[in-house]
């Protein structure tokens, strides 16, 4: 559980730099001789066969005039009908990261309660752990320094960023 939240915490911490759950890639594509009018399924499949994606076809539609969107398994094509230029988007789940992020985002109420209880247990361990060791390794010795560092570092963060 700790590893799940630690790993997803790292991933989500950098979500402005990357998508933590999916690897999304874009490739330029073109359909220079796109037929006019409403495209049939067969016409779209013929186009997709040129990219080796004919077996992945799901559906196609026109989000707005002059724009074609083709859904395939794990991605889509988005093509401007006027220029024939567009891109293919491919979406893949990131192994391990997708699963831990999925759990981190609370997939359901049961998991939410379970993770709340686990977090409570961690808090309990953190507090009681202060007093487990006795002597020079305990709270009156080395433990005092470690606890102080554990409090000072977040305070520094708050002072700088809040």
């Amino acid at each position: 559980m700790t590893i799940i939240y630690a790993l997803s915490g790292i991933a989500l911490n950098h979500k402005t730099d990357w998508n933590p759950s999916y690897d999304i890639s874009h490739v330029q594509v073109q359909w220079p001789d796109m037929p006019s009018g409403n495209l049939t399924r067969e016409q779209v499949l013929q186009y997709l066969s040129g990219h080796g994606d004919e077996d992945l076809y799901k559906k196609h539609y026109y989000p707005e005039p002059g724009r074609l969107k083709i859904f395939i398994d794990h991605g889509s094509y988005d093509i401007d009908r006027g220029s024939g230029q567009g891109y293919k988007e491919t979406i893949r789940k990131r192994p391990v990261f997708f699963e831990v992020n999925f759990l981190h985002y609370n997939p359901g109420q049961a998991w939410m309660w379970f993770s709340d209880i686990f977090s409570g247990a961690l808090i309990l361990l953190a507090i009681t752990g202060l007093f487990v060791l006795k002597g020079r390794n305990g709270i009156t010795g080395r433990g005092w320094w470690l606890t102080t560092i554990g409090l000072v570092l977040p305070l520094i963060g708050l002072i700088f960023y809040l």
Partner: protein
Amino acid sequence: MLKKMILPVMILSLAALLAGCSAEKADTAADQVPEMTIAEFNAQAAGMVDQIVTVSGTVDHVCKHSGKRLFIFGEDPQDRLKVESSETVGSFDVALEGSEIRIQGKVLEMRVDEAYLDEWEKEEIGEDCTADLTPKADSQANGAKSESAAMDRITALRKQLAESGKGYIGFYSLECASFEEVQQEG
């Protein structure tokens, strides 16, 4: 002492997990839940807030950051509907994009009034995965991410608000209680 506490904590956690797993999903008798197209929903939603309905459509977009919302469209691509996750359906798989799904859920209403528009004017436009069919992200859903586009949107909504005579504009969505993928032929 700590070793003695581990077992009770584990049992308590397991009990909570099993209790959650045994909870039934929102289950309303099928014949009591009105089923409608997205176009019908958009026309009637104002009178069905907090009611349970069933709507079918094709998934156009699933939020790739949290998976907690998706958008479906109907026979006419201009008929669109936002669907949000719930306690029973925690998130949506991106693999649903392009699939036909049937959703049962509660009708939600978000009211946009002068105060909302005033607040929006002060905010910075967020990134695209906050896109939804509420006013702020409408401009983003239409690909217009610039501040000027957002201001145009605000201006248009102020005009719409003035014309509504109700003091607010309602935007409607579904909170998904359950859904199923409809197998398409061919």
